[in-house]
């Protein structure tokens, strides 16, 4: 079996010479992201605590960083970068679509129940 690896990350911004080198490069990147998350989590800068789209701005940063991490784990450690387009889409889009759907419904419902509690058992009298 031939094993060609695509060795460029960040849209070709960084090109590695070998697959091993790419692995270490991605590790460094993931460690930096985790370190940023931990530092933000401990110090919780006041400027990031404002509400953005129903959640604290800091929480959005955490979620975005998590998705970035997930992307590099899947693409480089699980070799999704080297798979065919159809396999990649089959796996990634199916999961993303179903997860977004589920999360939207459950969080919406949770928020609704919360407002029923706080507003004295009737949120909207139809």
């Amino acid at each position: 079996m031939a094993h060609e690896h695509k060795l460029a990350i960040f849209q070709g911004l960084i090109k590695f010479k070998s697959n091993t080198q790419k692995i270490w490069g991605v590790l460094i990147f993931l460690s930096i992201i985790t370190a940023i998350e931990v530092v933000l989590g401990i110090y919780k800068p006041e400027s990031l605590m404002t509400q953005v789209l129903g959640m604290k701005g800091l929480n959005w940063i955490f979620i975005i960083l998590t998705i970035v991490k997930a992307y590099y784990i899947t693409w480089d450690f699980m070799h999704m970068r080297d798979e065919t387009k159809s396999l990649r889409r089959m796996v990634v889009w199916t999961a993303i679509f179903l997860i977004c759907y589920l999360v939207f419904i459950l969080l919406q419902e949770g928020g609704y129940i919360e407002s029923v509690y706080t507003n004295g058992y009737v949120k909207k009298d139809f």
Binding site: T34, V38, I73, V91, I113, E114
Partner: protein, 332 residues
């Protein structure tokens, strides 16, 4: 004996099953499909956690106040240990992917070493998680559960750099347990099919008496105020709450009670990290099997280390899930 069929004799025959439009072997593709379904299971759990959290958004426990311990160190270090665990898991993911890479180059020795390191990383992680569970179950300050199932915690104001900061106080530090006749009922000295859990160390009356005599101790409830902190009650209000609503002294957490706040938090913590820990554990077992197969030269004979790659996919997936558990349980 090699029972895995690598060549089916249908290669190149489009209608005989030899056509591979996805350029991936059967085993690898099935591993991907399994991963998708497992990812949906985990996202179901995490979304359910989000549901409950949104439902009780104004009184959910603050993770930074719950997970503050580091083994062998005393003091308050939120996040540090769990960050270490995350790093261990990412590291073992790296050794795994290095093993896969060495497998592509048919380097048996390197694959063996990297698999070994991966197993070690996995064991450290599972051990850390067990410790984390132990600490969480044991608890640290203790609290009073009210009739409505809410949690009242205790603390005092201390001066930190000229600023008044609320610091938690353990119930054992101000309340005094009085001798009692009541002993825990065990199966061996009564009806064999009836047993009961550990009796609480203090009664609510004892805690009330202790609170009354220590004027520096305040009661706080779980409601989060606009500053993002739990609400601290006045002395009178706190005493009144304990007297009128206090029902049970709780220390630590289990599936019924949770000294850190909503019992749902503990339930989800045990369920989600437990399910993930179980995945890590089974991943370690599978990795050990593959490790021995590598040593025995199974894949050398097969002229392909693809099995390492498939197991690697599973291992990376476990890492991937942890990244999300870390965010939603400890950070957000």
């Amino acid at each position: 004996m090699n029972t895995t069929v690598e060549n089916t004799g249908t290669e190149g025959k489009t209608w005989g099953g030899g056509n591979e439009p996805l350029k991936a072997s059967y085993g690898k593709m099935m591993m991907w499909f399994f991963i998708v379904s497992d990812a949906l299971t985990f996202s179901g759990f995490l979304a359910a956690y989000g549901f409950s959290r949104f439902k009780f958004i104004d009184s959910w426990p603050i993770a930074d106040e719950v997970f503050t311990h580091v083994p062998f160190f005393h003091g308050n270090y939120p996040m540090i240990y769990v960050a270490f665990m995350t790093f261990i898991l990412i590291m073992s993911s790296v050794t795994m992917v290095l093993a896969v890479d060495a497998g592509h180059h048919m380097k048996k020795k390197a694959v063996t070493w990297y698999m070994f390191l991966t197993v070690i990383g996995g064991l450290i992680f599972v051990g850390s998680q067990a410790w984390e569970w132990g600490t969480f179950i044991k608890g640290d300050f203790g609290a009073v559960q009210t009739k409505g199932g809410n949690i009242l915690q205790f603390g005092e104001y201390v001066d930190v750099d000229g600023e008044q900061k609320f610091k938690r106080v353990a119930v054992a530090d101000f309340a005094k347990a009085s001798p009692t006749e009541r002993v825990q009922h065990e199966r061996k000295n009564g009806l064999w099919f009836v047993s009961e859990g550990t009796l609480p160390e203090f009664t609510v009356d004892e805690i009330y008496a202790g609170l009354e005599s220590h004027s520096n101790v305040y009661v706080r409830n779980q409601i989060i105020n606009e500053k993002g902190e739990k609400t601290v009650l006045t002395r009178e209000e706190g005493l009144k709450q304990i007297k009128e609503n206090g029902k049970l002294y709780v220390k630590g957490a289990n599936l019924h009670v949770n000294e850190y706040g909503s019992p749902l938090f503990a339930d989800f913590f045990f369920f989600i990290t437990g399910f993930h820990g179980f995945h890590v554990f089974s991943g370690v077992v599978i990795n050990i099997i593959i490790f021995f197969n590598v040593i025995l030269g199974t894949y050398e004979k097969r002229r392909s280390y693809e099995m390492v790659e498939k197991v690697g996919l599973y291992w990376h997936f476990v890492d991937l899930v942890w990244v999300f558990v870390f965010t939603f349980f400890y950070l957000v």
